[in-house]
């Protein structure tokens, strides 16, 4: 069963229709890439899944977005529970101006279980290990997270999310500020994480989508033009517009 399903999803920013009748299904334990030119609505779609668009005034949505079968566009959706389940990694690495340790433990602090120091230490170690930062940072847990390199920061942000124990990881161009080597390492990490998570990544970089994802959706002007197996989309696109984009006629 798909983890996230959208049915006839429309979204308006005021009078501007940013998403037009999006139908899609995101499978668990897969990486789904959303590609498309700037302003096509791919980040907007991503931010529907954890309702981050709510922060913008004048947003309106119709249709259905099901997460684990529940429509999250209902008025009575608990955003705290939703966002705990559907986490997000942002384009710019954005650790809090706190220590490495406190960054990771933030979710624990927020979600209230008054964990013992010992249990917190375990969470920090486990989370840092799953993003392969533990060996680099185990002696620097008290250092400010702002002193880390960009790649370390982005990994830390992923670790902070892992500590919250989400099911879904939304990634909004997570590698756009990283160099090619760091990008390759983060992609490797994504492949490892997909065994445990549903990963949806928005990317500008078609090569990245082709390399890392299982499914791909191509968006243009608010429409989800084509959605399916990554290999098929890149080798035998059904829609002329997808083909034009992939072959680099516009972008």
């Amino acid at each position: 069963m798909a983890k996230i399903v959208t049915r006839n999803l429309d979204l308006w920013y005021g009078n501007f229709k940013a998403l037009k009748g999006v139908n899609s299904a995101f499978e668990p334990n897969k990486i789904t890439a959303i590609i498309g030119p700037s302003g096509c609505g791919k980040s907007t779609l991503l931010r529907v899944f954890n309702r981050m668009n709510d922060l913008i005034e004048g947003v309106r949505m119709t249709g259905e977005v099901l997460v684990d079968g529940e429509n999250i566009l209902n008025g009575n959706t608990d955003l705290v529970i939703l966002r705990k389940k559907v986490g997000m990694v942002f384009q710019r690495p954005n650790p809090f101006p706190l220590s490495v340790y406190e960054n990771i433990i933030f979710g624990e602090k927020i979600h209230g279980s008054s964990a013992t120091r010992h249990k917190r230490d375990d969470i920090v170690e486990e989370s840092l290990k799953s993003v392969l930062l533990w060996d680099e940072l185990k002696d620097k847990l008290d250092k400010s997270a702002l002193s880390l390199s960009l790649e370390q920061k982005q990994r830390l942000c992923i670790a902070r999310l892992i500590a919250v124990k989400s099911d879904v990881v939304l990634m909004d161009e997570p590698c756009s500020t990283l160099d090619p080597q760091a990008t390759a390492r983060v992609e490797e990490l994504m492949r490892e994480l997909k065994n445990r998570y549903t990963i949806i990544i928005v990317t500008h970089n078609m090569q990245q989508a082709a390399r890392v994802s299982d499914d791909t959706g191509f968006m243009l002007l608010g429409e989800l033009v084509e959605f399916g197996n990554t290999h098929e989309i890149f080798t035998a696109p059904k829609d002329k517009r997808t083909e034009d984009y992939i072959t680099g006629r516009y972008g």
């Binding site: 997000m88 954005n94 942000c157 902070r160």
Partner: protein, 282 residues
């Protein structure tokens, strides 16, 4: 023909002159007060009651009164101001009404202090029946400093990057948790700046305490918040204009003490602010 070097020199001269115009009077004031006031300073002057119609003895009750009033004003205005600022910057929608409210708060900061004094007299002294008391005076001063506290706190809260709020919310934090754990700690340096400015202002203002608390001559310490008290700015006014034949060193000594209290309160807050700033950087 224009000579860029000469225009550069002229511009520099004017800018330098402007700085000089600011620095010279400030420097002169401080210099004169130190020169004429320092000889009057002694342990006895600081710790003794005034005597012989304030022509001798010390200014201890006025010092204590000023400390009570300034700290009372901050105690009263900081919680209210901070809560109002949090509401305005984090919760209130940006519409005509909130814009009018924000503008009104900024304008309130420009209202002459004597108007606040009269307001305090009618509201706290008369209507709430606090009488002329520390409570009424501190609250009047509190209202006087409230606009700047609100505006400084609001600016500090708004300068915390939006991305911090987004991440926090995206991790499942509620709005209040985000404010409490992320926004507020990062806004503290800016909020303290507002407090710094306003402690000095509350300690130095005369008009708001004139009708609400200040005693002309009261050679004893206040025992409760419902007592009147002497205060340095008013005492200075009294011994400079109302009581004849007060020695110059007593007048300037009082001014020196007032200046020293204001500056040391500012200094404490500046140190606190720098400490926080070192911890929180982005």
């Amino acid at each position: 023909m224009r000579n860029p070097h000469r225009t550069q020199k002229i511009a520099f001269a004017f800018l330098f002159l402007a700085i000089l115009l600011i620095l010279v009077p400030v420097g002169l004031i401080v210099f004169v007060i130190i020169q004429k006031g320092l000889p009057g300073i002694s342990w006895q002057f600081l710790s003794d009651m005034p005597r012989q119609g304030m022509r001798a003895g010390g200014i201890f009750p006025a010092i204590i009164g000023t400390i009570y009033l300034a700290s009372g004003a901050i105690l009263f205005s900081l919680p209210i101001g901070l809560l109002a600022a949090i509401y305005l910057s984090e919760y209130a929608k940006d519409n005509l009404l909130t814009r009018i409210i924000k503008l009104a708060i900024v304008n309130l900061a420009g209202v002459p202090s004597v108007v606040f004094g009269l307001f305090g007299l009618s509201l706290f002294v008369v209507f709430f029946k606090f009488g002329a008391s520390i409570l009424a005076g501190a609250m009047t001063l509190g209202i006087l400093v409230l606009p700047v506290i609100i505006t400084a706190s609001r600016t500090a809260l708004e300068s915390v990057p939006q991305s911090f709020r987004e991440v926090s919310l995206s991790l499942g934090a509620s709005k209040w948790q985000t404010i409490r754990h992320i926004v507020l700690p990062n806004a503290i340096p800016g909020i303290l700046t507002g407090v710094v400015l306003e402690i000095g202002r509350a300690a130095g203002e005369t008009a708001p305490i004139l009708f609400t608390v200040a005693a002309f001559y009261l050679p004893q310490l206040p025992e409760s918040v419902f007592d009147q008290t002497m205060a340095l700015p008013y005492h200075l006014y009294v011994i400079s204009t109302q009581v004849p034949n007060v020695a110059e060193k007593i007048r300037y000594g009082t001014a020196f003490v007032l200046l020293a209290i204001v500056l040391s309160m500012n200094l404490i807050a500046v140190i606190m602010r720098n400490k926080f700033r070192k911890l929180k950087k982005w």
